[in-house]
Amino acid sequence: MSITYLEAIREAQAKALADDPRVFLYGQDIGSFGGAFKATKNLAKEFPGRVLDSTLSEDAIIGAAIGAAIEGMRPIVEMQYADFSTVGFNQIVNHAATLFWRTETPCPITIRLPSGGTNGSGPFHSQNMESLYAHYPGLVVMTPATVEDAYSMLLEAVAIDDPVIFCEHKYLYYHLKADGLPTEAEPVGKAKIARPGRDVTVVAYSAMVHEALEMARELATEGTEVEVVDLRSVKPLDTDTVLASVARTGRLLAVGESFPWGGVTAEVVARVASAGFGLLDAAPQRLNAKDTPVPFHPNLWGTHRPTARAIAIAVRELLRS
C-alpha cells in the first residue's frame, strides 16, 4: 500500500477521532467537502457530529477551540492556508499560548497549518509561519518532512496537553509517498539524521529536507558527503543532535523556507555558535528565502526559496572556507 503525506494526515485524524472521543475537527469546508486539500475526506461521514464546518472566522475558530479545550476536548483546527492563521494570531499567541502558564489549565489544541510555497501561489498562499509561532512561549511547533512523521507527529500533537502548531507542507502533500503508515515513531523533540555524511552538516526541516537530500545526492557524486539533519520539530529544537552532527563534520549550514530575519535557522546557528564554537572549522551559515513577500510567478518563486541548487552553492562555498 502506498500512502501520500496528505493521506497520512487524513489517516492520523481518522485514528485520533476513532481512539479518543474528546477529539473533534473544526475548520472551513472540512465537513462533507473534505477540506480545500481533502485532508478530511470522508471524515464527516465516518464521524458524524465531530467534523464541523466553521464560519469564515479564524479568530473565532481558534477562540472556540480554546474554549472547547478548557472543557476537556481535544480540537484539531484546520486553517485553510497557514497564511490565514494570522487572522487568528491573537487567540493563538495571547490566549492559547498563555493559558496554562497563567492558570494551570492545559490547552490541548492542534492547529494544522497547510504551509509553504507551491507554483503560482503568491504572497498569501505560500507562507511558512513556524518561526513566528516558535517565538512565543507556550507553543509546540512541528514541521514534519516525511509521510511517517506527518502521521505519527500529528497523533502525538493531539495527545500533547499543550497547543501545537502543526506545519504541514503543501508541496509535500502529493509529492511524497511511503509504503505504509508507521507503527512506531521517534518522540517529538528528537531530530533525526536523514542522511549521514562526514564533510558538512545541513540542518533542515519540512520541505527543505528534501531539497537538502537532493543536493546531498548531487554532491555525493562529486565525493562530498553531506550529513542532513531533519529537525522534525522546531520547538522543541533538538540542539544535541545538531551539535553531535557538527562535532563529526565541523561545518554547519541551516536551511529554512521562511523569511531570513531571525527564525529557526538563526536559532540553530546561534545555539551551535554558543554551545559548540570549538566544534566548528568554519563560520556557521544559514540559507533562507529572500526578504520579500513570496512572489507569484514561478520564475521569481524559484529564486525566492532555497532550492537544491541554491543549497549546493552554499555548501560548496562553506566547504571552501
Binding site: 479564524e58 490565514f84 503560482g120 498569501f124 526578504d291 513577500p293 512572489p295 520564475n299
Partner: protein, 348 residues
C-alpha cells in the same frame, strides 16, 4: 465611469446619471460581456497550463459588479474582490493590465510579483486586494477618512465581499468603524449562497444579511443580483446616498455563483435545485433577453459585440504572451520603498 488609466479600450463609455437608461444599460452590458469573454479565456489558458496559480471567475456576478463601477466616477475608490472582473474593467482597468496580471508579464502593474485577482493600482483608487477576506473594508474606510482630513469631499469608496467574508472580524470592525465615522463607503455583499463549499446557512443566522445594516446603524439595500436594471438602480441610489452625506451604505445582492470557487473546483456541492431557482439565472443571458425585449439591441448586434469582445481579448492575450516574463536576476528583491533602509545582509 472609466477613470482612464492604462490602455483605452472603451467601445462604449457607460454614462453616469446624465445618460439615458438605455445608454447606461447598454454600456454596462458590454462591460459584462467583455468580463465574461475575458474570464472564459483566462479559464481556458489556466486549463492549458498557461496561467499559474488559481483562476477565480465572476460568472453570474457581472451585473452586480459592473453596476458598482458605472456608478463611480474619477476620484472615487474601488476595492474589488475575486469576482469583480466586470467592475474592474468598467472602473477603468485596461484589459491589457488584467491580462498581464494573469500571465505574469514583467510589463504589467504587478510585474509577476503578485497575480490574477490580487492586482490593482492603489494610487489610482483601484485597491489591490489581499487574500485575507474582510481586510479591504477598513482600508477603504481609512482612505475615505484621509480624504475627509484633507478636505476632499464628494468622493465615494466602494468595496465588495461575499457572504462568507461577512463572518470575519475585519468585516465587522471595518463596517462599524465606517458607521461611527459616517464615511461615504458602499459595502456591496454578493450573497452567492456559497463560500467555497459552505452554504450561507452555515455562515450567518439572521433572516437576511441586510438586517445587519440596522445593527451597524447604516442604510441597507437589497437587490436581485441577477437583474442588471435592478442592480444599476440600487447602486445608483446607494452610491448617490453615500456621496450626498448619507454615510455608509450596505447593498446585499442575492444571486448564485455559476462557476466553481476557482477553476480547480467542480462545485458539485451546489444544490441543483438552487440552480433552477431565480437565483441561478445567468445575469448576462437575462440582460441579453432584456435588450431584445426592449428592442435596445438586435440579435445581430449582440453577436457582433460578442465577436468584438472576443477579438479584443484574443489580441490582448496574444500581445501579452509575447511580453517578457519576470527575470529573477533583474529583480531588486527589496520589499521597502526606502532603499536606504534595506537591511542588506543576506543568508545566501
Amino acid at each position: 465611469m472609466g477613470i482612464g488609466f492604462g490602455m483605452v479600450q472603451a467601445m462604449v463609455t457607460p454614462a453616469t446619471g446624465a445618460g439615458s437608461l438605455k445608454e447606461t444599460y447598454l454600456g454596462a452590458y458590454r462591460w459584462m460581456l467583455l468580463a465574461r469573454v475575458s474570464e472564459e479565456k483566462y479559464a481556458s489558458l489556466y486549463r492549458g497550463g498557461k496561467i499559474h496559480g488559481s483562476v477565480f471567475l465572476g460568472k453570474g456576478q457581472e451585473a452586480l459588479s459592473v453596476s458598482i463601477a458605472v456608478n463611480l466616477r474619477k476620484g472615487d475608490i474601488f476595492s474589488p474582490l475575486i469576482r469583480d472582473q466586470a467592475g474592474r474593467l468598467a472602473f477603468g482597468e485596461s484589459l491589457l493590465d488584467s491580462t498581464r496580471a494573469y500571465l505574469g508579464s514583467r510589463l504589467g502593474a504587478m510585474r509577476g510579483r503578485d497575480g490574477n485577482i490580487h492586482r490593482g493600482r492603489p494610487r489610482d483608487g483601484y485597491f489591490a486586494m489581499i487574500s485575507h477576506l474582510g481586510a479591504m473594508i477598513p482600508a477603504v474606510a481609512g482612505a475615505l477618512l484621509a480624504r475627509r482630513m484633507k478636505g476632499m469631499t464628494g468622493a465615494v469608496g466602494a468595496t465588495t465581499i461575499g457572504e462568507g467574508g461577512t463572518s470575519t472580524g475585519a468585516f465587522h470592525e471595518g463596517v462599524n468603524l465606517a458607521a461611527v465615522e459616517q464615511l461615504p463607503l458602499v459595502i456591496v455583499i454578493a450573497n452567492n449562497q456559497y463560500a467555497y463549499s459552505t452554504p450561507a446557512s452555515k455562515q450567518f443566522a439572521c433572516g437576511d444579511l441586510v438586517d445587519k445594516a440596522a445593527g451597524y446603524g447604516i442604510a441597507g439595500h437589497s437587490v436581485d443580483g441577477t437583474d442588471l436594471a435592478a442592480c444599476l438602480e440600487t447602486l445608483r441610489k446607494a452610491v448617490g446616498a453615500a456621496r450626498d452625506g448619507g454615510g455608509p451604505q450596505m447593498v446585499v445582492a442575492s444571486l448564485l455563483r455559476l462557476a466553481g470557487h476557482g477553476e480547480h473546483d467542480d462545485f458539485r456541492y451546489v444544490d441543483p435545485e438552487l440552480r433552477r431557482t431565480a437565483l441561478g439565472r445567468d445575469c448576462l443571458e437575462a440582460a441579453e433577453a432584456a435588450l431584445l425585449e426592449k428592442r435596445w439591441a438586435t440579435p445581430k448586434e449582440i453577436a457582433a459585440w460578442r465577436a468584438e469582445a472576443a477579438r479584443q481579448v484574443d489580441e490582448t492575450v496574444a500581445a501579452v504572451q509575447r511580453e517578457p516574463l519576470p527575470n529573477p536576476d533583474e529583480e531588486d528583491w527589496c520589499a521597502l520603498s526606502s532603499k536606504r533602509l534595506v537591511d542588506g545582509f543576506t543568508t545566501e
